[in-house]
């Protein structure tokens, strides 16, 4: 069956791939907005949280910028930055996985596809994880799964809200079945948070698909999405190859998920921090209850 559906995937940006259009801002004084075609001053766009000053189009945001835009200044402690991928399968495609990890570390400046921090949001203590899409498409292997699980366990221990800012093509194929099992591992940790009534906020960024969508990302108390983010189980290309039909406009975008009942609220980037803080204030500190 050659049309077997790959359900986890990531792609590098390609011109022929409208679903994952390049959203990052190219270097240079001017930036052309792909939506309104306006020539924008790059510096101005950057100051505007990488949102088009003319039409509000959300460009990709560097993950470290994202962290800074959400967390209170000076409140951050990064956790588990020393947890590193190995190559458990001895995997090799056009390149050895171990070499791919090395070169990705160099180009992205990050050790892995998730940054885990403890800190504050409008003075509310949280444990937060930020996916690094720049690192192998934000794919989840053993390290990402372990860091998220530890983050959830710290949130449970400290009884502070757990937040995940998801942006990922799904499970990391180079770690095979171990990647798949991270879906179960992280979801098991979520089950404990839910039981203890610790708030879980899932912030869905462009794009969130595959195994990352089909685990903790869809298990939040709240699902908050950025406008027009691609969110879904299977990638659009896979669906098209399976059903041989054209996909409806806006398919698998934030607005589509809201209409179908899987996203609570769509929030523009500039209001994201305030909206998260409001929800956390409403939820309050979970009362201490014993498990079981």
């Amino acid at each position: 069956m050659s049309d077997n559906p790959p359900i986890v995937w990531y792609r590098r940006n390609k011109k022929d791939e409208p679903a994952l259009e390049k959203r990052s801002i190219p270097a240079g004084v001017f930036t052309k907005c792909p939506m309104c075609r306006e020539a924008l001053l790059t510096g101005e766009v950057h100051k505007n949280l990488d949102v088009c000053t003319s039409c509000g189009h959300h460009f990709a945001m560097a993950t470290r910028d994202r962290v800074a835009s959400i967390m209170d200044k000076g409140s951050l402690i990064e956790h588990d930055a020393h947890v590193e991928s190995i190559d458990p399968l001895g995997f090799r495609d056009s390149k050895k996985y171990s070499d791919r990890l090395k070169s990705t570390r160099k180009t992205s400046g990050e050790v892995e596809a998730l940054i885990a921090v403890a800190g504050r949001i409008e003075n509310i203590a949280v444990e937060a994880g930020f996916f690094v899409f720049e690192f192998m498409g934000g794919s989840m292997g053993s390290v990402v799964g372990e860091k998220i699980t530890r983050l959830f366990e710290r949130a449970l221990e400290r009884r502070v809200p757990a937040l995940i800012f998801a942006s990922s093509g799904g499970a990391r194929m180079q770690e095979g079945i171990l990647s798949l099992m991270q879906m179960a591992k992280t979801s098991a940790a979520i089950a404990r948070l839910r039981e203890a009534r610790v708030p879980i906020l899932s912030i869905l960024l462009h794009p969130t698909t595959g195994g990352v969508a089909a685990s903790f990302s869809m298990l939040g108390d709240l699902h908050i999405a950025e406008p027009k983010a691609l969110i879904g189980f299977a990638g659009p290309r896979v669906i098209q190859n399976t059903i041989h039909q054209n996909l409806p406009p806006g398919f698998q975008r934030s607005e589509f998920l809201l209409t179908h009942g899987f996203v609570d609220i769509i929030v523009p980037r500039k209001e994201l921090k305030a909206t998260i803080a409001l929800a956390l204030r409403w939820m309050g500190t979970p009362a201490v209850t014993t498990r079981n």
Partner: protein, 331 residues
């Protein structure tokens, strides 16, 4: 000879099965003769020995891709074939109480050697009509939600759960996305992690990614000898990482998706032997082997109190993964 052999003959024969199947045809032809002289009888015995040895030889060195082909063999027993052999008074139950009944996922109550159990599994179809009705075992959200509803019921009545995994993957389609395929899979992972009853998952054919895992979070994970379990299909992996669908055999090998691979990676608890030549050659024998494994694991799990069962299950998944902490501490 195996009782289900006639069924296997109707199904297409894989390349590497052909030498044995041809020998067996020859043997059958000889047996058809009205009079069997002593010489012909001896010839038959010789050929039978040769067929057995040839099969052993071929099956002792199968490639990962050949195992994928066996896992997808059109003659292979499916969930209901095992259910009918090892579950008595099986009564199928339908629907997710939300939207529909998904025939790609079957669920029902019955008795395993006298023990009341819930039995779940993806069900592929054998005829074209049945394949269509069952969407070749690719469940939609309503399938996973039916499974969840039944598991919740099993939990309330304290009944163990047996899951049979056999799917190319969760269905990737417009309607499945509209109804929240990602949420349906995710919710099952969370719920199964916290169920207070024993869960045994057995991969009987294709363990296709999240669509399989969505009924696969368990206290014990078993794999039939020639089943496979992977994060993505070899075809999907090949087209994304190898940039060519044709390199699926290479992708199958690279992903380490066979039962011995998963045992080495510490993911599964037991490999269940299949009939010589694969499960499709003898449904009954393979089902007996599966029942023997289920019996042992159920006996281990049934005495455990729910809180311990849940803790052990959490720890089981907690350990899965391979990484280093800087400083060289491996896990």
């Amino acid at each position: 000879m195996p009782p289900r052999k006639e069924k296997a003959k109707e199904a297409p024969v894989l390349d590497f099965e052909r030498p044995v199947v041809e020998l067996e045809r020859k043997i059958d032809d000889l047996k058809q003769r009205t009079r069997l002289s002593g010489e012909i009888r001896r010839e038959i015995e010789n050929l039978e020995t040769r067929a057995r040895e040839l099969q052993q030889h071929i099956f002792s060195s199968l490639t990962p891709w050949q195992k994928v082909q066996l896992a997808r063999h059109p003659g292979r027993p499916y969930t209901l074939d095992y259910v009918s052999r090892i579950i008595t008074d099986f009564t199928e139950l339908h629907g997710d109480r939300r939207f529909a009944d998904d025939a790609a996922m079957i669920g029902g109550i019955g008795f395993f050697e006298g023990i009341p159990v819930l039995c779940l599994g993806q069900q592929k179809g054998r005829t074209i009509k049945e394949k269509l009705a069952r969407n070749v075992g690719m469940a939609k959200p309503e399938g996973y939600r039916k499974a969840m509803r039944l598991m919740d019921m099993a939990a309330r009545f304290g009944k163990p759960i047996i899951c049979m995994l056999d799917t190319p993957g969760a269905f990737p389609g417009i309607d499945a996305e509209e109804r929240g395929q990602a949420e349906a899979v995710a919710k099952n992972l969370e719920i199964m992690a916290g169920l207070p009853v024993p869960i045994i998952a057995a991969v009987i054919g294709e363990g296709g990614s999240g669509g399989a895992l969505a009924i696969g979070v368990a206290d014990r994970i078993l794999m039939l000898e020639y089943s496979v379990y992977s994060v993505i299909t070899p075809e999907g992996c090949a087209s994304i990482l190898f940039r060519s669908d044709a390199r699926k055999a290479e992708a199958a090998a690279a992903m380490k998706m066979t039962a011995p691979d998963l045992a080495r990676l510490g993911i599964i608890d037991e490999i269940v032997p299949e009939a010589p030549g694969g499960a499709h050659r003898n449904f009954d024998l393979t089902a007996r082997n599966l029942a023997a494994a289920l019996r042992r694991h159920l006996a281990d799990l049934l005495p455990l109190p729910p809180s311990l069962l849940k803790d052990l299950r959490y720890q089981k998944y907690r350990r899965m993964g391979a990484f280093v902490e800087a400083g060289g501490l491996a896990s």
